[in-house]
Symmetry: C2
Subunit: 280 residues, 2 copies
C-alpha cells in the first residue's frame, strides 16, 4: 500500500533501530490528503507540525524543504495520502533527549482510489469505545506518535459497517473518535470536545470551527458529556482524509443527517478537499 | 553505544518505515540489566512482557526463543543492558491493527561499565517535574512504547547533579520518577504509587514489595500525595538498571538515607543485581 518513501530526502524504506520515534514515540506526524497530485490544507498541516515541534522541543522543519519533498513523491499520486513522520532521530541516553537533536523526517505516499463517499451515501454508523483516551495536557492537541489509545480503541470492533468509535477520557468526557474530531449539533448550535487535556486539534476541525463562525452558527469548544451526545439532533465527524462524515447511526440510535446544518458541512467538505500549495 | 542488534533473530540495524512501533508506539519494551554476561530478573521481565502482550492483543513471544537470542548478544557483555522491543510489526490500515499481526522483535545490547553507585555514595538528588504523567487505565502498568510524557519530563533539567525527577498526574497524584518507581518511607511503613491509572509496574518495584512483605514491613500501593512526599522520613527509587537509589535530596530538602530501612534496601538491591536464567 505504501507507494514511495523518502527518509531525510532520500529513497529508503528502512530506518535505524536506534530511532527515538521507535523507542518512545518521540515524534510527530501529519496525514495529508492528496487530490489531483496536490495536498489539501497544506498550510494548516505545516502550522500544526510547527506547534508540535515547539511542544516537544524539536527544531521546526523547513516548510519549503518539506514542500519540495512532498512534490517529489506526492505529485505522482492522483488521489491518496501523504504521511509525514518527524522523529527526534537517534541519540540521547534513555528518555533524555540529545541536547542537539538531529530530527529524522519520513515521507510516505499511499495511493488510493476515492472511495464511496458516506456523505453521499447517507452517513456513517459509529459506536462507543471502552478504551479510554489518554489524558495529558502537555501532549493534548498535537499529533504526536503516542497513539496506543486509538490503536486499542480501534481493535474493539471488526464489523465493516461501523466506520468509527467514540472515545472518552477516564472521567467520562468525550474526546472524539479514534481518528476523527466530533461535532455535536443540538439543532441550534455546535459543540466539539476541547483538546486541552486530551484529543487532537484536527485540521478539518479548525476549518469547521471557522466556517461555523462565518455562517453565524455558535460552536463551543467544551467538555462533551454522554448526555449531550445522546440528546443530540445530529453528529458529524471530521479528519483530513475523510473531510466530513455525517453520522446516521450511533450504537442503536438512528440519526437523520438531513437535520444537520448541511450548508456548513458542504463548505467544510469543500475546503477540506481543495488542493492547495502555499507560496514557497 | 549500541553494541549489537538482532531484528527477528538476524543481525540488522534497520527496520521497515512501515513498522507500527514507529507509527503509533504500537508495542512494548523491556530494559534488562546484564551482569557477568547474564540477565537479572529475567523471569519477571518475561512475565511483564507477556502481560503487556495480552493487554495490546499481541501474541506472546516465546520466552525460550528470546532467551536464545539474549544469550547470543547478551553474553558478550560483561556489564550492560539488553533492550528488547516488541512491536506489532507492519500492517493494518491506520490505527486498525492487522487481524493476524506479525510482531517484530528487536534486541539491542548496550555495554557499560558499572558506574559509581549512588547507593554507596550517599544517595541521589532529585527534583519535581512539571510535565504530567499520562493517565489511561488500559495502558497503565505495562511497559509500552508511548513514553513521550517521560521524555518531556526528562527534558526539564540539564543539571548532572540531578539524577531523577518525580512526576504526578493531572490531579496531582504522584506516579513515580521519569524512569523509576518511587517508595515513600514514613518511618514505620512504605507507600508506593499504585499503577492502575498511570505509571509502570517495575520489576524491582515488585521485588521491593515482596521483600517488604517478607521483612514484616507494611507496603501499601496507593495514590501518593505531595504531602506524603514532603513529610516523608525517607524516599527511594527503583528500576532494573539502577536497582535501588536512596534519595538524599528532593528539590531544596535534604533527606538522610540512613533513616531508610537499609536491610530491606540491601535485600532488594541484591535480588535486582543477581544474574539468573530461568529453566528453558
Amino acid at each position: 500500500m505504501i507507494q514511495r518513501v523518502l527518509v531525510d530526502g532520500r529513497e529508503h524504506d528502512r530506518i535505524s533501530v536506534g530511532d527515538r520515534g521507535l523507542h518512545y514515540g518521540d515524534g510527530l506526524f501529519e496525514t495529508i490528503l492528496i487530490r489531483d497530485g496536490m495536498p489539501c490544507l497544506w498550510d494548516r498541516h505545516m502550522a500544526r507540525l510547527a506547534l508540535g515541534a515547539d511542544r516537544l522541543g524539536l527544531p521546526r522543519p523547513s516548510p519549503s524543504m518539506l514542500r519540495d519533498e512532498a512534490v517529489r513523491i506526492g505529485t505522482e499520486l492522483d488521489h491518496g495520502l501523504l504521511k509525514l513522520i518527524l522523529t527526534r532521530g537517534v541519540g540521547g541516553r534513555g528518555y533524555r533527549p540529545p541536547a542537539t537533536p538531529h530530527p529524522r523526517r519520513i515521507l510516505l505516499s499511499y495511493a488510493s482510489s476515492p472511495s464511496s463517499d458516506p456523505w453521499i451515501d447517507g452517513g456513517v454508523a459509529i459506536r462507543f469505545c471502552e478504551t479510554p483516551a489518554s489524558v495529558n495536557s502537555h501532549l493534548a492537541g498535537i499529533k504526536h506518535l503516542n497513539r496506543l489509545d486509538a490503536v486499542l480503541a480501534r481493535r474493539e470492533w471488526d464489523d465493516p459497517e461501523i466506520a468509527e468509535g467514540l472515545m472518552c477520557d477516564e472521567a467520562g468526557s468525550f474526546v472524539g473518535g479514534t481518528m476523527t474530531n466530533l461535532f455535536v449539533w443540538d439543532g441550534v448550535a455546535l459543540a466539539t470536545p476541547s483538546v486541552t487535556r486530551s484529543g487532537l486539534a484536527g485540521t478539518v476541525r479548525a476549518v469547521a470551527i471557522e466556517a461555523a463562525s462565518r455562517a453565524g452558527i455558535a460552536c463551543v469548544e467544551r467538555p462533551v458529556t454522554r448526555r449531550m451526545i445522546e440528546e443530540a439532533v445530529g453528529l458529524f465527524l471530521t479528519n483530513a482524509r475523510i473531510g466530513v462524515w455525517p453520522v446516521s447511526r450511533l450504537a442503536d440510535r438512528l440519526l437523520d443527517p438531513e437535520r444537520l446544518p448541511l450548508d456548513l458541512l458542504s463548505a467544510v467538505r469543500r475546503t477540506a478537499h481543495t488542493p492547495e500549495w502555499s507560496d514557497p
